[in-house]
């Protein structure tokens, strides 16, 4: 019985005018466009410099900032009010204030009178902006030390060391996450829409009146999407290697393993939703609702650890949390499922609940 049902699903997939093309275009788009678009590497921060010193030293510091490429100098003068006005009008994202004694004190090493104000309406821009200014100041101080031999007190004594992604390369960080998004979306939407369209066409009734087993019917709806997800994963990995030169640090096998687990969860959810939806719009909307929540609470864009405690509890129910964590750990760190037992357990638990519920709620007799 399985053979005939699978044959049907695959034939229908390849005969669909849009689906095969979509499955092909999706990974390409995901890998070639989004790593650039979703970069958190912020550029063009508008900087206002209140220079109360107006010396050679202060100009050099400002130039240090602008030459970094991150800042665009929108004001350079002595009026703190003018700089504040610019920030109020959203024309400046950050203000660096250089105190009158800047040149003397830096040279003598007695202090480092610089103030930084940032506009945190756009939180990311603000916090990264202040860090970039600090980096510029630090590098300026470093150069001074090297040049003069004097010891200027460092602005902040932070020693940073980035493991696993030494250049803090945002693209590398996002690639496993984008694979996660691509696979999750495809495997949740397509099986659900497939079932709902059978409901709309009435063909599901002809199936329901046969002695077909529920498990066989549901499984045969899911299996083609495993194949598609594997295709997408493979395509993404190849593009990441061919275009960006990235390869997975961990075994590719583990990436496939976690993908299987994720598909079980997502396809189960999609089928569950389709069992309760009477038309495609309903199903689309509900899945979209879940997809957005999953993405925002997955740790892909913002770290889960910085969410409030109650939100962190919710993420335990989010399959994407486990999948994204696992894919990043395998791809960037070379972790193995034994180390990621937590993610395996999370996905397996959610998967059995979803598939169980999908089979149970699919009714051949109303």
């Amino acid at each position: 019985m399985w053979k005939y049902l699978l044959e049907k699903e695959f034939k229908q997939f390849f005969r669909d005018p849009g689906l095969p093309r979509m499955a092909l275009a999706f990974p390409v788009l995901m890998m070639l466009v989004f790593p650039f678009a979703v970069s958190m590497d912020i550029r063009n921060i508008n900087l206002a410099a209140v220079d109360n010193c107006m010396s050679e030293e202060s100009s050099r510091l400002i130039e240090k900032c602008t030459s970094s490429g991150y800042f665009r100098l929108v004001y350079h003068g002595q009026s703190a009010d003018e700089a504040m006005r610019l920030m109020d009008n959203n024309k400046a994202d950050a203000i660096i204030t250089i105190m009158p004694g800047f040149d003397r004190e830096t040279v003598s090493g007695s202090g480092f009178p610089v103030g930084i104000k940032v506009n945190t309406v756009n939180g990311t821009k603000g916090s990264l902006g202040s860090q970039y200014i600090l980096q510029c100041v630090r590098s300026y101080v470093g150069e001074k030390n090297a040049a003069s031999g004097t010891t200027v007190p460092p602005a902040a004594d932070i020693s940073e060391k980035y493991y696993f992604n030494p250049g803090m390369d945002y693209k590398l960080f996002m690639i496993p996450a984008l694979i996660v998004i691509a696979i999750t979306m495809i495997t949740a939407f397509l099986p659900a829409l497939n079932i709902v369209s059978e409901k709309e066409a009435g063909t599901i009734e002809q199936i329901n009146v046969t002695p077909v087993s529920k498990t066989a019917f549901i499984a045969c709806k899911m299996i083609p999407y495993w194949a598609i997800a594997f295709f997408i994963l493979t395509a993404c990995l190849i593009i990441a290697w061919a275009v960006f030169g990235y390869t997975s640090r961990g075994s590719v096998l583990w990436l496939y393993l976690f993908t299987i687990l994720d598909i079980i969860v997502m396809a189960g959810l999609g089928l569950l939703i389709s069992n309760y939806s009477s038309n495609a719009q309903q199903a689309m909307f509900v899945i979209w609702f879940f997809a957005v929540i999953f993405m925002l609470m997955s740790g892909i864009f913002t770290p889960i650890a910085s969410m409030p405690q109650w939100a962190q509890y919710i993420t335990y129910l989010n399959p994407m949390r486990y999948f994204a964590d696992a894919m990043r750990a395998v791809y960037l760190k070379g972790s193995t499922p034994a180390e990621l037992w937590y993610d395996v357990a999370g996905l397996a638990a959610l998967g059995s609940v979803m598939v169980g519920a999908a089979v149970a709620s699919y009714r051949k007799t109303e």
């Binding site: 044959e7 049907k8 034939k11 009435g202 329901n208 009146v209 046969t210 002695p211 051949k364 007799t365």
Partner: protein, 247 residues
């Protein structure tokens, strides 16, 4: 298992909220009989038929179809019946052959049996050359014949036909009824709903549903005598005219 009756139904009720779609109906259908299930739109025919096919659960009442309980053994019933719905519900994006193969496979036929049956069916339908056309492209009359053949692919004891000839010309209808006769001649019980009163004349017995109840049930000749009517059309109008329920 009673061998005389294919279907025995007692006090069947189906409610949707406050609405009683099927209101306490009881009837028997003998083996090999062509049983016409008549009624105006909204009288509850399709609802009752869906319960008999195991697609829907009754609110109360009992009965057996092909010897299996309609409340508990729906999946066993499904093995022994064929069902052709009002709306064409084969896969439009599969070819005629592929549709036959799929349903043959679902009913557990062997590959070789399916191949043989497919050729026989195409021959019978007179559409040998259309075997590789998509089901969606077939004319309505062919679609109905194909659905009928597929509903019979596993040689069921009973076949349920829900308005099998809606929307086609009289000649096509007449030929469809010839196939129904052939099928009944082979011992298959035929349970058929229709709006066409000339078709009702072809049945061994008919029942007429009004507002969820069965208000009349007999052979066409018996009904005509009882209502002193010249044809089934008059019988139907007399009985169905009592309806108070809106469609």
């Amino acid at each position: 298992m009673n061998t005389e009756y294919a279907i025995r139904i007692r006090n069947l009720v189906k409610k949707f909220g406050d609405f009683t779609a099927v209101d306490n109906i009881s009837f028997d259908v003998r083996r090999g009989e062509i049983f016409g299930f008549l009624g105006a739109n909204g009288a509850g025919k399709t609802t009752a038929m869906r319960i008999l096919c195991g697609l829907s659960r009754p609110t109360s009442g009992s009965g057996t179809v092909a010897g299996f309980d309609i409340c508990r053994e729906q999946e066993k019933i499904k093995k022994n019946i064929g069902y052709m719905s009002q709306k064409f519900s084969l896969y439009p994006d599969l070819t005629v052959r592929e549709n036959i193969r799929l349903f043959g496979g679902i009913y557990g036929l062997k590959d070789r049996t399916i191949r043989e049956k497919t050729e026989k069916m195409l021959e019978m339908l007179g559409i040998r050359d259309a075997g590789d056309r998509f089901a969606a492209e077939l004319p309505l009359g062919w679609k109905q014949k194909l659905s009928f053949c597929i509903a019979l692919i596993h040689s069921p004891q009973i076949i349920f036909l829900d308005e099998p000839t809606g929307g086609v010309d009289p000649e096509t209808r007449r030929r469809f009824w010839e196939s129904i006769y052939d099928t009944a001649g082979n011992g298959t019980t035929v349970f058929v709903t229709t709006h066409y009163m000339d078709e009702a004349e072809y049945c061994d017995r008919v029942s007429i549903m009004v507002d969820g109840r069965i208000d009349a049930m007999d052979s066409p000749a018996g009904l005509k005598k009882k209502f002193s009517a010249g044809n089934m059309d008059e019988v139907f109008r007399t009985v169905a005219g009592r309806a108070v329920r809106e469609e």
